[in-house]
């Protein structure tokens, strides 16, 4: 079953590649032979868009987790200059699932806190596949308080399957660490901007996302539980993940409609991995425009606004008694 689910995306990528190569071929013929083939190219482009329009929640989930999708470290290296890491929670260890530090965004001093899954096998192990321990969340909060003290805006990058479910993580208060971040981020007196890059996995993602603005890349996801987890509990079959993905309404489009997020950052057709450079440019532009707006607000306005933003989240009714 899992294999079927994976081939879903491979088929799509093959189709996209095929159309792309056809487009290139026609463009080549057109320029070589001096024949106008614009119409053919247009038809193919339209076909491609149609294919992408039809992407379902599960395909988007697979793109969000794609092995070649740009990671937080890619954005850190390309969007900012002078990145200087700040390490450790000052108590137990430096959790490498979280990268944090000082950087410049086109000259603006900012503090970056990011989740990174790692690309090579060694990196993945080092970064625990992007699943922080409590120390990761405590490191993040320590660095965010550093930002507050020195009046620097905070940018967080979200990309995690979730907080790590392990013995030591529980012993050292995983739930406590997440809860404290939720509470303390709500009171930070500097601008906080969160960007979901890939996977926004539940409480482990939320713990870095109590922000003034929440942005999502077009093919990223943000969910209370993974489609697989939801499928095995509610649908009683982990193979029904595609069904659960649709039911959970976890795509950027869904969350924008629900007014949970503020902006969708565009990705090249088929996903960021097909053209990382343009995605990175899009992210950079979105960071700059949002940050410049947020930096105009005073501290009280920011904290009050953030409270109001989250206070209004939820859909419920009133039963007359």
């Amino acid at each position: 079953m899992a294999e079927n689910i994976q081939t879903n995306l491979i088929n799509l990528e093959e189709k996209l590649n095929e159309i792309d190569s056809q487009i290139n071929k026609f463009k080549q013929i057109s320029s070589d032979e001096g024949i106008k083939l614009n119409e053919v190219v247009e038809i193919l482009e339209r076909k491609k868009l149609q294919l992408l329009d039809e992407l379902d929640a599960w395909q988007k989930t697979l793109i969000a987790r794609h092995k070649d999708r740009p990671l937080a470290s890619d954005y850190i290296n390309s969007v900012f200059t002078g990145f200087t890491a700040l390490c450790g929670d000052r108590h137990i260890m430096d959790d490498h699932a979280i990268i944090s530090g000082m950087a410049y965004l086109e000259g603006r001093p900012v503090v970056v806190v990011a989740q990174d899954k790692g690309r090579t096998t060694e990196e993945k192990v080092l970064r625990n596949f992007g699943m922080p321990h409590p120390e990761g969340y405590r490191k993040a909060m320590r660095v965010m308080k550093f930002a507050e003290k020195f009046n620097r805006p905070i940018i967080t990058f979200i990309d995690t399957p979730g907080a790590y479910p392990g013995i030591e993580a529980e012993e050292r208060g995983q739930a406590l660490a997440i809860a404290e971040n939720l509470r303390d981020m709500s009171q930070l007196a500097v601008p906080v901007l969160a960007v979901v890059l890939g996977e926004g996995g539940s409480g482990g993602a939320l713990a870095l996302s109590v922000a003034d603005r929440i942005l999502m890349l077009k093919y990223s996801i943000y969910s209370v539980i993974s489609p697989e987890g939801c499928a095995s509990i509610l649908f009683r079959d982990a193979g029904k993940a595609p069904l659960a993905a649709a039911a959970l309404k976890l795509t950027a489009d869904d969350l924008y409609k629900f007014k949970i997020i503020d902006q969708i950052i565009n990705e090249p057709s088929g996903g960021a991995h097909r053209d990382p450079k343009s995605t990175i440019e899009n992210v950079k532009a979105a960071l700059i425009s949002n940050l410049d707006e947020l930096c105009k607000k005073d501290k009280n306005e920011l904290v009050k606004g953030r409270y109001k933003k989250f206070r209004e989240m939820g859909v419920f009714c009133s039963f007359e008694s």
């Binding site: 709500s186 409480g203 509610l234 309404k249 629900f258 206070r311 419920f316 009714c317």
Partner: protein, 283 residues
């Protein structure tokens, strides 16, 4: 968060003894006369096993008789995702509502404990496994804001299987909403006592439940972020005895105290007296 299918079966339904005059204790397997259990606040006199109890029974066990005033009882759930799994969420919710005569998985209000007035939120595991959706998050937030506005200490008794998955992202956001409300309550210098009973898991643990100035647990309650089954599947090894139970959390410095149900009222009263009075007059 939310992997609570096993937990969803209440003890009383799990036991083989038919509903009636007798109840089988899951702790020691003894069959106990129900009237005796009730008198003993649903704690086994032999082995100390704490049965799950409804929010109403819980409130009666910790506040002064007749002092509870319910607030925000009208708040109920909607189905913004139009979620369907093996059953429509809206139908599942309606069934729970009809059965429990509650609008969602917690009761909020104010009450006296000894001579102290407190704001109170008490969760109910029998209502969809105490899962947190928008309505529950709203009620916890409302009672927290009520406590802040009226300068009252706040007590929340948590029991939950985690997030209400059927409400998707909205249920996740309740973690941030409730925690932000508690930040304001704390900033006002007010006390929050978090009481954890079996089981408290997932998104509820990873938000307001862990934010108490004082955190109290009933004996042997399962209290965790990730459930034991999820951890076993991830690390592929057996978990140590007593892992994620109240006493384990006490040992690891996560909670302040383990208090049996029969002593909960007096312990809460002691804490509230302690913060409300500058001098003890009774000795």
């Amino acid at each position: 968060m939310g992997w609570f299918s096993k937990l969803l079966v209440p003890d009383r339904e799990k036991s083989k003894v038919p509903q009636g005059l007798w109840e089988k204790c899951p702790g020691c397997q003894r069959v106990i006369y129900k009237k005796d259990l009730e008198k003993n606040l649903w704690v086994c006199a032999q082995c100390g096993y704490h049965f799950k109890i409804s929010a109403r029974d819980r409130i009666n066990s910790i506040v002064e008789p007749g002092s509870f005033v319910e607030l925000f009882s009208d708040v109920g759930s909607l189905d913004p995702l139009e979620f369907v799994d093996t059953e429509k969420y809206c139908e599942r919710y309606k069934k729970s509502r009809d059965k429990s005569k509650m609008n969602d998985a917690c009761i909020t209000g104010s009450a006296m404990i000894g001579k102290n007035k407190a704001a109170l939120g008490v969760m109910d595991f029998y209502f969809m496994g105490g899962s947190m959706g928008s309505a529950l998050g709203e009620k916890i937030t409302l009672i927290t804001e009520y406590a802040t506005q009226n300068r009252l200490p706040l007590i929340i008794v948590s029991t939950s299987g985690g997030a209400r998955m059927q409400e998707g992202i909205f249920s996740l956001m309740q973690m941030a909403k409730t925690s932000a409300a508690l930040a304001v309550h704390a900033k006002a210098g007010l006390m929050f006592i978090s009481v954890l009973v079996d089981p408290t898991t997932g998104g509820v643990t990873a938000s307001y439940s862990m934010l108490g100035d004082i955190i109290i647990a009933e004996p042997n309650a399962l209290i965790c972020f990730a459930g034991p089954r999820v951890i076993e599947q991830t690390i592929r090894q057996k978990l140590p005895e007593g892992f994620q139970r109240s006493e384990f959390l006490l040992k690891h410095g996560i909670i302040d105290m383990v208090v049996p149900r029969a002593e909960m009222h007096d312990k809460l009263m002691f804490i509230l007296d302690f913060i409300n009075s500058n001098q003890r007059t009774d000795e």
